[in-house]
């Protein structure tokens, strides 16, 4: 298993390199730059700005310097407990931001990433907490009104996207009844609507996958054996069927977390949440070269690691799969 993880991590290096290179040069070769929107500045100021960001170096040197700054140079994951400082923990330096000249991208990430992670984490819990029971119920009561109800609920979740559901929830539960705040990210109560909105879509997919996976497993011989031995229905479902039936759900968790990460762009815009997703979209509009690169690299790394974790869990759950 360690060899498998090691090989996948090695494979990730060229992938990350392609991402960094692509994003780096794509930004540089399109018209417009981080300073084009600003008021006319004197040539000296412009010169100082360019010197500060090393924009006067030849492009290949900027690129190789940037790559060197990105390379992890030490390994103290303990430092992460004190705050998400990737420079202290791994020696990864994302450079100063172009739009906020007195802040580094590392600081901005340390500031905003925890908010997005909290939003994503709760949303994933909502997705699993709603989706699994609905899917299990639908599978166990197949072709009864319970099944139809659960399946239609899931279809509704898939067809009402976050940017429709979010505003409607705000309209109903924040503006009309006043139970929640329409926007903001202060107390625990502010977590409810955003996480429900974001988790809902994935709950729907998980419910469908759980139902399908369980139905396939429930027809198999070993389930009949378990029933024949007199195991209770609860035990059959939770003890025997679920382990095999949940495999499609586990393989969906990789794409789902990626989707939740990018879905948070819209959620953070609707609910005015100060997270990294909104920051990323703004940074792209602002041509904030370093902030765009930093967030893209971070998202890509998170998605690659999560996919790897999902693959490992999948093999552990299904002995027929092998680490290969």
């Amino acid at each position: 298993m360690l060899r498998f993880i090691g090989r996948r991590l090695l494979e990730a290096i060229p992938v990350m390199l392609v991402i960094v290179t692509g994003t780096f040069f794509m930004q540089r070769f399109v018209p417009g730059g981080p300073f084009t929107a600003e008021k006319a500045v004197t040539p000296e100021v412009m010169h100082n700005l360019e010197a500060y960001y090393h924009l006067n170096d030849p492009l290949w040197k900027q690129y190789t310097d940037y790559l060197w700054d990105l390379c992890p140079k030490r390994f103290h994951p303990g430092e992460l407990a004190k705050g998400l400082d990737f420079k202290a923990a791994f020696g990864v330096d994302f450079r100063p931001s172009f739009k906020y000249p007195n802040r580094t991208v590392n600081e901005i990430i340390a500031d905003k990433l925890p908010v997005s992670l909290e939003l994503g984490g709760w949303s994933l819990l909502v997705a699993l907490g709603l989706g699994l029971p609905l899917g299990i119920l639908a599978a166990v009561r197949r072709n009864t009104w319970v099944d139809y109800l659960c399946s239609s609920l899931a279809m509704t979740g898939i067809c009402v996207p976050t940017f429709v559901l979010g505003p409607i929830l705000v309209l109903a539960f924040a503006i009309h009844t006043g139970w929640f705040n329409a926007s903001g990210w202060y107390g625990p109560i502010d977590r409810v609507l955003p996480c429900l909105t974001l988790g809902n879509v994935y709950a729907a997919y998980i419910a469908r996958l759980t139902r399908g996976g369980l139905l396939e497993v429930l027809n198999q011989d070993y389930i009949r054996t378990a029933r024949a031995k007199g195991a209770s229905e609860l035990r059959v479902v939770f003890r025997h069927a679920l382990r095999g039936g949940l495999l499609p759900v586990v393989s969906f968790l990789g794409p789902a977390t990626a989707g939740i990460l990018t879905g948070s762009f819209v959620i953070e815009t609707i609910f005015q949440i100060p997270g990294l997703g909104r920051e990323f979209v703004n940074s792209a509009f602002n041509r904030d070269y370093t902030l765009v690169l930093g967030t893209v690299i971070l998202y890509a790394a998170m998605i690659i690691i999560l996919n790897l974790a999902v693959d490992v869990v999948q093999v552990l759950m299904n002995p027929r799969h092998k680490f290969e």
Binding site: E11, P161, V164, V170, L171, T262, V266, T269, A284
Partner: protein
């Protein structure tokens, strides 16, 4: 030399045609589809909405004519769905926005279809090392935050509707490529392909004239299911201000607009949102129905 007559390959699992009436697999699938009421309803709704959006703007009021004195008015007899803050008729705007949304859905799906089918068919047919490398590329692309790249593309290269087609199509072809490859692998060892080879046909002719027509079922099903996914991505981008730009309008743009003003004018959010969700519902039900009718199983490899 084959002893057995060629089997009926077009739809796996389709009932064997009886001697007297001679059902084709397609007519069998059509009969099964017609029995599925949800799928039929979905299909009817899709057709009605598409016709309304295509022809509606000709008969309805102008989608861009402003009436500032009227302002945002709630639904009435003159304006069935009300008007927006500039006094523009919302029904006309929803129909016109639907045109763009459906157009993006169709064109981007075609882009995804062409790339995905060609890529998957070539990988599956050529096989060997080329196949391994090509599918590894797909696996890696799958794991990437592609939405992020679409966002970057749209920001950097201007918000052009043609770029939008290709950016979305370039994201959505991956699943199609996987499915097509799996199907090709399952039929490429069959006798009729061998016969085509023996007749001296080239690879291209075998792929496009012999293999692809025989895996049309899964392709049709996943095309139907790709259209709502594409429309979702377009609306997502438009909601972030990156998709369709004014004076053009799509359901995503209208929803964004409505979400900004919903505190005073709920109808601006509710009607475009309903139209959009209704379309997604119908397309998904139709796609699921087609999958059952053509008896396609989700194949992953």
């Amino acid at each position: 030399m084959t002893i057995f007559p060629p089997r009926n390959l077009s739809a796996p699992g389709a009932a064997l045609p009886s001697e007297e009436s001679g059902h084709s697999p397609w007519s069998d699938a059509w009969a099964r589809l017609r029995k599925n009421r949800l799928a039929v309803a979905g299909g009817i709704v899709v057709v009605v909405l598409a016709v309304l959006c295509a022809a509606g703007p000709i008969f309805s009021q102008s989608y861009e004519e402003q009436n500032l004195d009227l302002g945002a008015s709630s639904p009435s007899l003159a304006h069935w769905l009300g008007t927006d803050t500039l006094g523009r008729d919302l029904l006309a705007r929803v129909l016109y926005g639907g045109r763009i949304s459906i157009l993006v859905g169709l064109v981007a799906t075609v882009v995804a279809l062409v790339i995905g089918v060609t890529y998957g068919a070539v990988a599956g047919f050529v096989g060997g090392k080329a196949d391994t490398v090509m599918m590894r590329v797909v696996d890696i692309l799958y794991a990437l935050p592609f939405t992020i790249f679409v966002i970057l593309l749209m920001v950097f290269f201007g918000r052009n509707i043609f770029l939008l087609f290709f950016a979305i199509g370039a994201v959505e072809w991956l699943t199609m490529a996987r499915i097509v490859r799996g199907q090709v692998l399952s039929i490429k060892r069959m006798e009729f392909i061998e016969a085509a080879r023996a007749l001296g046909y080239g690879r291209r002719r075998i792929i496009f004239r012999h293999i692809i027509p025989n895996i049309l079922g899964p392709i049709i099903v996943y095309t139907t299911l790709t259209i709502p996914a594409v429309m979702l991505l377009e609306a997502f981008l438009s909601f972030l201000g990156l998709g369709v730009q004014p004076p053009m309008s799509s359901w995503g743009v209208l929803i964004k607009d409505g979400a900004d003003k919903m505190e005073e004018y709920w109808w601006l959010l509710v009607f475009p949102g309903t139209a959009f969700s209704l379309t997604l519902f119908s397309l998904n039900f139709l796609g699921d129905g087609l999958r059952d009718a053509l008896d396609v199983r989700a194949s992953k490899d």
